[in-house]
Symmetry: C3
Subunit: 284 residues, 3 copies
């Protein structure tokens, strides 16, 4: 008996139930899932990355390490720029920035080995707010700052010290910190004030519903309307500048170095790499 034609032949989906095997005993094959979703009108084709979203990311396909290895080695993998491994291919910090070796699976899982040594993600968890995610997605602020601007300038150190001291609403904040957020070129030449884009908790016009014009706005955090006040994303963690979004955005350059802030932050390969981490960052 011939199998049914139509989508079955196209996608290889065994709609007649002839297919067995351990994996399929527990559910549908990918082709079967896709056929069903297409029939149900569940497939979106909006946007440049529609194929990646619909066929890959929504279905938790195991991302092979061999693809991650390719991404580490090719230029322009996450947007225009040099390959990751050119700067990060050894655990020796005299040979490789941060002693970070992205040329092997073990090195990727190990993370930075130069003190302070740190992994770049937590295996099995969404790396969006971990170092991997921040470096690939977050534009350094203020918008337009170049990578030759020091990240330990007096202005940035003032913000850092204020957060580390507990982020109090005191005279130092009012006199020395808040003006940095409301003044042009406070952190780098020819850059807008933070409040040019983050002036209220309404979006539009304020990006991420973030208000940097007052103590209350800064402590409320981002997306307080979209997520609700109680679930807003805190951008200041009192006492911990390195975990605070405000400090991270001031002091961390987006990778690859030199990339334009207008390049897609949700590049298909970035999403695929995140999926690999969430799946366990497996090496085979």
């Amino acid at each position: 008996m011939k199998p049914g034609i139509g989508v079955a032949l196209v996608l290889g989906a065994a709609m007649t139930g002839l297919v067995g095997g351990s994996a399929l005993a527990q559910g549908q094959s990918l082709s079967q899932q896709l056929s069903a979703d297409i029939a149900a009108g569940k497939i979106s084709i909006e946007g440049d990355d529609a194929a990646v979203n619909e066929l890959i990311l929504k279905r938790n396909i195991p991302i092979p390490y061999s693809y991650i290895d390719t991404l580490m080695h090719v230029p322009n993998a996450f947007g225009p720029g040099p390959a990751c491994v050119v700067c990060h291919s050894s655990n020796d910090p005299a040979e490789s920035y941060r002693g970070l070796d992205l040329s092997t699976c073990e090195g990727i899982r190990l993370g930075s080995t130069e003190e302070p040594a740190r992994p770049i993600f937590v295996v099995g968890q969404d790396p969006k707010r971990e170092i991997l995610g921040r470096r690939l997605r977050n534009n350094r602020m203020p918008l337009g700052v170049e990578f030759n601007v020091p990240t330990d300038s007096p202005a940035i150190l003032a913000v850092e010290a204020w957060i580390r001291s507990g982020a109090p609403n005191d005279k130092n904040f009012t006199d020395n910190v808040l003006p940095l957020f409301t003044t042009e070129s406070a952190f780098a030449p020819d850059t807008p004030a933070c409040t040019d884009c983050h002036m209220s908790n309404q979006e539009p016009p304020s990006f991420h519903e973030l208000d940097m014009s007052s103590y209350e706005g800064i402590m409320l955090g981002a997306d307080s309307i979209a997520k609700g006040v109680d679930n807003a994303t805190k951008v200041i963690i009192p006492g911990e500048p390195e975990r605070s979004g405000v400090w991270q955005h001031l002091a961390e350059n987006r990778m690859p170095p030199g990339i334009s802030p207008f390049e897609n932050r949700d590049h298909a390969n970035t999403q695929i790499m995140f999926a690999w981490v969430k799946q366990g960052a497996l090496c085979n």
Copy 2:
């Protein structure tokens, strides 16, 4: 004695006959062939892929598997889109579409392992009309159909059933099948009628000299003038929809998913992969 300069030094061709070795005992080196062809005015420089055509494809250079492996792993290898291995890297159909593993040479040669299991080419033969060639080159029809349109719609199933029943010129064909080819949006929203582009056996204006406006035209096939009526490419194989070009074009999406139909169907890398298959799909 010094070797002759000129093209000899440039290309390294040993025009003085000094070169030996088993391969050359049977003919000229590649450099010698190229020098001779240049001298004879046989090298064309027309088109974007001239270098690939003249230097590689015309000369049957053995394509190394390491290059095929690269093509499977990099994005945009055959036109804009995700890397092949992201969706096809395992023989488990719950993890990889069609249980197709393109991440290894053995997997490429094995083809789809989900039922109905099928190789994607015949080793040593031109894969142009095999699954590999169709998926890389053939635009799904009608032009502009998106990949979220079901391939088992009533319209496509009606065409399939007609072919399977022997493709007779009967009342069912006249009443139910032929109108699908002559009507706009018969197979997908906002798509032209087949006959908008395939209206006679003259090209121009009819693409591929294919006339889908009548039973006789459809059964005659494509390129009946260019190749002669007896050698025209049949687009209907009575009884076998899966081998019929009409059905294939209605039901098979071009890869990578989401690629524009206006992207070059004869991409240099597509031609190189075909050459590798014709050479035996060797794994070293």
Copy 3:
């Protein structure tokens, strides 16, 4: 005790001196060097390749062979065009141009094996004027000549013979060689005269301060003002056409074949590959 924040956390530089290890005992880590250079205002952000220049090339980071291997295998590595390994993946000159195998580290180091066998660089030295550098950087002249134009034409052979005979300022030069440099389309159809771009030792308007309009100008060489007359780059090495820039530019096609002469000759990947050669062309 917490490490200092600021650039230390950003770049991982251990500014408090906590970091040890053999490499760092002899100097700063890369991150520390970069922090210091940023503080000193030594980082330039001019140009498309600023990140590569400042973060990689200036710091002599060991380039891993795995990145060179990638460059050999991917299309468009040094500008638009096919991957190197498609034409150069075997030491058999019947299978691979010039018997040059770029698919292995040993093959890259070995160079062309077809007679006249030649390495493409000297390990540990700048390959800019070696075969590797010339093929990646030098546009074949006159500008616009296509790769299907013979490199052993009577005009090119006349130049070659004149150089080989010692490049004398004789009647043959005046009557038969000099006019080739001053006449349009002397070496290829629809190409400018050499003297259209190289007409004096002043730049602008004369590219490379090279004057091809007289015997004295040609023998003086290029960049005689920028470098001084005694250090000008000789473009004629009497008796040795294959070492003479004039002949090289007439007879050597830029790679990848078909690349436009307007593509960046100092591609970031070209610079990185040169760095790898200078570092010893190591295979691990």
